[in-house]
C-alpha cells in the first residue's frame, strides 16, 4: 500500500509538472492518447505481474505481442478467417504458449528466465518466418473490429464515477460481511474519487468531462478488477503470493504449486496475446522483426515500479497499473516538453531508478523512525 502511494505520488507529480509547463498535456486529445497507451501496456504489465509474484519472469511478452500481431492480420486478410475466429485462434495460441512455458518450468524444472528467453527468440523468428518478413496490416477494412482498440465508447469521468461507486458499495458489503463495518480510509477515498468525477462534469463540462475513455482503457479496467479480485480475495491469489515467497512451504502445505505456477504463465501469455491483438488493431501495421521488441522490459519495469519484487511474493494490481501510467506519462512529457527524443530512454531509466531508490530509502527511514519511536 505504501509503495502504491509512493508511485501514485510520482504519477501525480509527473502529470502536474507537465501540465504546468505545457497545458496541451490536459487537452482531451492528449489525455485520451496517454490513457490508451497506458492501457495497452498496462494489460501486458498486469500479466507479467502474475508471473513476477510467483518469483518468475517472462521475457517472451514482446515476441508474443509480435507474433500475435502478425498472425491476426495474416489469418484475417490472407486466410479469410472471420475476426472472431482469428482472435480466438491467436488467443488460443497465446494460452498454449503460456502453458508450454509453465510446463517446462514446473514439470521439467527449467529456469523461467531461460525458458522465456528462448521463447523471445523463437516466437520472433517464427513470426518473421511465417510472414516472410512482410509487414502485416488490416488495410482499411475491419474498422468495426479496430474499434476494439481505437473506439471511445464513453467518457473517462463516467467510467471512473461508476468504478468509484462500485468500490464504495463493495466496501460497505465487505464491512457488513466481516461484521466490522466499512473502513474509513477506503470509504473516504472512493467517495472523493466519485465526487471528483462528478465535479468535472459541473466545473469543466467542455474540458476534462469531454475526455473519452478509449476501449482499451475499459478492457484494462475489467482485467485489472478481475486480477485484483483474484489476487486479494481468492485462494488462488493467496497461493500465488505464498509460492513466490516460499515454494517448499507452499508445496508442503498441500498446495498444487505446479498448477498455480502454470496458471500464472498462462495468464501472462494470454494477456500478452490480448495486448498483442489490441496493439495490432491500434497500430494497423505490424512489422514482424520489430513489433513488440523490448515490450517485455517495459512491462516488467512498470510492474517493478508499481511495487512488484522480482524476488517474488510481492505486488499489487493497482501499483502495476500506476507504474504503467508513469512510464507512458513520462514518454508523453518528453515529447510535449520538447526534450531531445534521444534522451527519452535515459530519462525513463533514470526515473525508474530514482523511483525504486527513493522507495527503498523511504522504507528504511520509516523503519528507523518507527523503531526509534516505539
Amino acid at each position: 500500500m505504501n509503495k502504491t502511494l509512493g508511485i501514485l505520488g510520482l504519477l501525480v507529480l509527473a502529470c502536474v509538472a507537465t501540465a504546468l509547463i505545457n497545458p496541451q498535456f490536459v487537452s482531451a486529445y492528449n489525455l485520451q492518447n496517454v490513457i490508451r497507451w497506458t492501457s495497452l501496456f498496462g494489460i501486458l504489465s498486469i500479466g507479467v505481474a502474475f508471473v513476477i509474484i510467483t518469483g518468475g519472469i517472462d521475457l517472451s511478452i514482446g515476441s508474443v505481442v509480435g507474433l500475435v500481431g502478425c498472425l491476426l492480420p495474416l489469418l484475417m486478410v490472407e486466410h479469410g478467417f472471420s475476426p472472431a475466429a482469428a482472435i480466438g485462434a491467436v488467443l488460443g495460441l497465446s494460452v498454449a504458449i503460456g502453458l508450454f512455458h509453465g510446463l517446462l518450468i514446473t514439470k521439467l524444472g527449467l529456469q523461467p528466465f531461460v525458458v522465456t528467453l528462448c521463447g523471445l527468440l523463437f516466437y520472433r523468428g517464427y513470426a518473421r518466418f511465417v510472414t516472410g518478413d512482410q509487414t502485416q496490416g488490416f488495410g482499411t477494412g475491419f474498422e468495426t473490429l479496430r474499434g476494439l482498440a481505437t473506439g471511445k465508447p464513453t467518457t473517462v469521468a463516467t467510467s471512473i464515477a461508476v468504478l468509484a461507486a462500485g468500490a464504495l458499495l463493495l466496501e460497505v458489503l465487505r464491512g457488513r460481511r466481516e461484521q466490522e463495518g466499512p473502513r474509513r480510509g477506503p470509504l473516504l477515498a472512493a467517495g472523493a474519487v466519485f465526487l471528483a468525477a462528478l465535479a468535472t462534469g459541473v466545473f469543466d463540462p467542455g474540458g476534462l468531462a469531454q475526455v473519452r475513455a478509449p476501449a482499451p482503457f475499459l478492457i484494462m479496467i475489467v482485467i485489472a478488477l478481475a486480477a485484483g479480485l483474484f489476487l486479494n480475495a481468492t485462494v488462488g491469489g493467496r497461493y500465488l503470493y505464498a509460492i513466490g515467497r516460499n515454494l517448499t512451504a507452499a508445496r508442503y502445505s498441500g498446495i498444487d504449486t505446479d498448477r498455480i505456477v502454470i496458471g500464472a504463465y498462462v495468464a501472462c501469455s494470454a494477456l500478452a496475446g490480448l495486448g498483442g491483438v489490441l496493439f495490432a488493431l491500434d497500430v494497423n501495421s505490424v512489422q514482424p522483426a520489430m513489433h513488440g521488441n523490448f515490450y517485455e522490459l517495459y512491462a516488467i519495469a512498470a510492474a517493478v515500479l508499481g511495487g512488484c519484487s522480482l524476488r517474488g511474493g510481492e505486488g499489487t494490481v493497482t501499483g502495476v497499473v500506476i507504474g504503467a501510467a508513469v512510464m507512458r506519462v513520462l514518454y508523453n512529457s518528453i515529447n510535449l516538453l520538447e526534450i531531445p527524443t534521444q534522451l527519452e530512454f535515459s530519462i525513463i531509466g533514470a526515473v525508474i531508478l530514482l523511483g525504486v531508490a527513493a522507495d527503498e530509502l523511504v522504507r528504511r527511514t520509516v523503519a528507523r523512525r518507527r523503531r526509534g519511536g516505539s
Binding site: 460481511r177 466481516e178 461484521q179 480475495a233 481468492t234 485462494v235 491469489g237 493467496r238 497461493y239 503470493y241 505464498a242 513466490g244 515467497r245 516460499n246 517448499t248 512451504a249 507452499a250 508445496r251 508442503y252 502445505s253 498441500g254 498446495i255 498444487d256 511474493g313 510481492e314 528507523r368 523503531r371 526509534g372 516505539s374
Partner: protein, 502 residues
Amino acid sequence: MSSRALLEVRGVSKSFPGVRALERVDLHLDEGEILAVIGENGAGKSTLMRILAGIESRDDGVVAIDGEVVAPESPREAAGLGIALIHQELNLADNLDAGANVFLGREPRRFGLVDRGAIRAGARSVLERVGADFSPDAPVADLSVGRRQQVEIAKALSCDARILIMDEPTSSLSRAESERLFTLVRALRGRGVGVVYITHRLGEVTELADRVVVLRDGRNAGELRGDEIGHDAMVRLMVGRDLTVSDTRSAAGPGSVRLKVEALATEHSPQSPLSFEVRSGEVVGIAGLIGAGRTEVLETLFGLRPRLSGVVSVDGVALDTRGPRQAIDAGLALVPEDRKRDGLFAEMSVRENVTITGLTALSRAGLLDRRGERRLARDLVERIRVRTTDIEQPVATLSGGNQQKTVLLRWLAVRPRVLLLDDPTRGVDVATRHEIYSMIEELARSGAAVLFASSDLEEVLRLSDRILVMHEGDLAGVLGRAEASEEAVMRLATGARGGAVG
C-alpha cells in the same frame, strides 16, 4: 501387535546416493497413543516421516492406515489421509501473516472467496491453544524463530489430523511453551489422535511418551514401553553402548573481562538497555521464554542488527559493529539460530561449508591450498562425528542434526576470542551434544569468552558459569552457578524480578 493399528509401517526402505537411510523399518501407532521415535542424528527419523507425509518416495515396504495400504505421493494426499507433519525445518511464507500461514492450503471460503474472518478467528483460537502471545495478523517476517515454530505447530494442529507427526517441535521452544504443548498433545491423545513425536530432549520422552521406538543406522534398534522408558535405556539403544558423560568442569576461575556490554539498546526493545560482561574462560548462558530477545542481543553484538545506543568492547577496545565483518575482525563469532536461512550453503559440500571461515588462513600467495583444505575438513568432521558419506556430500542431504554440526564446526575451527552461540545444539543428539559441550568448555579453557542462548534449560544449567535470564527484552536477572536451578530461571523468565543484575 494390535489387530488394527491406526498406522502401520512394514519393511520400509529408502536409499540415497551413497547411504541407506532406512532399511526394513517397522513401526505401528495406535489410536490415542503417543509414540516417541528417537535415534542419533542421521538415524533416519525424518526420512521416515517425510515418506509418511508424501514428500519422499520409498524404495520398498508398505504403509497402512486402518489396515488399508496407502501410498501418499504428495503432501496433499497425505493430508487427505489424515496425516499432518510438523517439519523439522521451518517452512513458512513470511510475506503472509501468521493466520494465513496457519490455514495455508486449507483456507475456509465463502462464495468462492477467502473467508478472512473465519481464518482470523480460527487462527486466533489455535494460536492461543499453543500459547502464542502474538495476534494472527502479525506478519511472519516479524516473528522470532520460536514464535515461527509455534505457527508451524498451530498449522498442524488446525488440520484435525488423525495422525500427527511432530519432528522436533520443541527444538526452539523453552520449557514453558513446551509444557503447554505437552498438555495439548495429551488432550489430543485423549481424543484418539495418534501422535508420533520426535525429539532429542530425552526428558520430554520420559514425560510424554507411551512407547518409544528407537532407530539406529536406519534400522529398528528396539522398543521401550511404560516403565522401561528411561534415559539410560534410551541412550543404550540409540548409541548401542553406554554413554559415559564426563561432567567435569575445570575449576580454573575466569580471567579478565573479555566482552563488556554497557547500556546496549536493541532494535525491538530500545527502552530496556542491557549491561553485562563475559570474562575470558567464562561460559555465560542466556535463558528466557521465546521472544525474550536472546537472538536479538546476540545478533546486535555481532553487528547484524542496528545498535541503537550503548557501548560494546572486547578486551577493552570499543567494538565497531557496522557489520559481521567488523565483528569477526574483533574476534567475535556467531553460530546462528536458523541454520537453514543463515548458516548453510545447502548445495555446497560439507568441505566447503566447514572451511568457509578459515579459507584466508589456508591460502598461499592468494591461491587456495586445496590439500590443506581437505585435510582440515576431514579433521573437523571426525571431531564431532558428522555423519556423511564423504566430505564432498552436499550439506542439504545431511540430516538436520548433522547440518547443525557443520555450522558449529565452521566456527569452532577458527578459535574466536568471543564465541556467540544461538541454540547451538538445536536438533543435535545426546551423544554428540556432550562432545560439543566439551569443545565449548575447552575453548573457554583456552581463554575464549562464550556467550550462548539456548531454549534447552538443561543445557543452560549444565554449561553455564553464570546465567542471564531475559524477559521481554529486559535482563530480568543474573544467576550464578550456585543459585541456578530450573525454578529460579523459570521464575525470572516469566517476569518475577530477582537476582543480582550486572
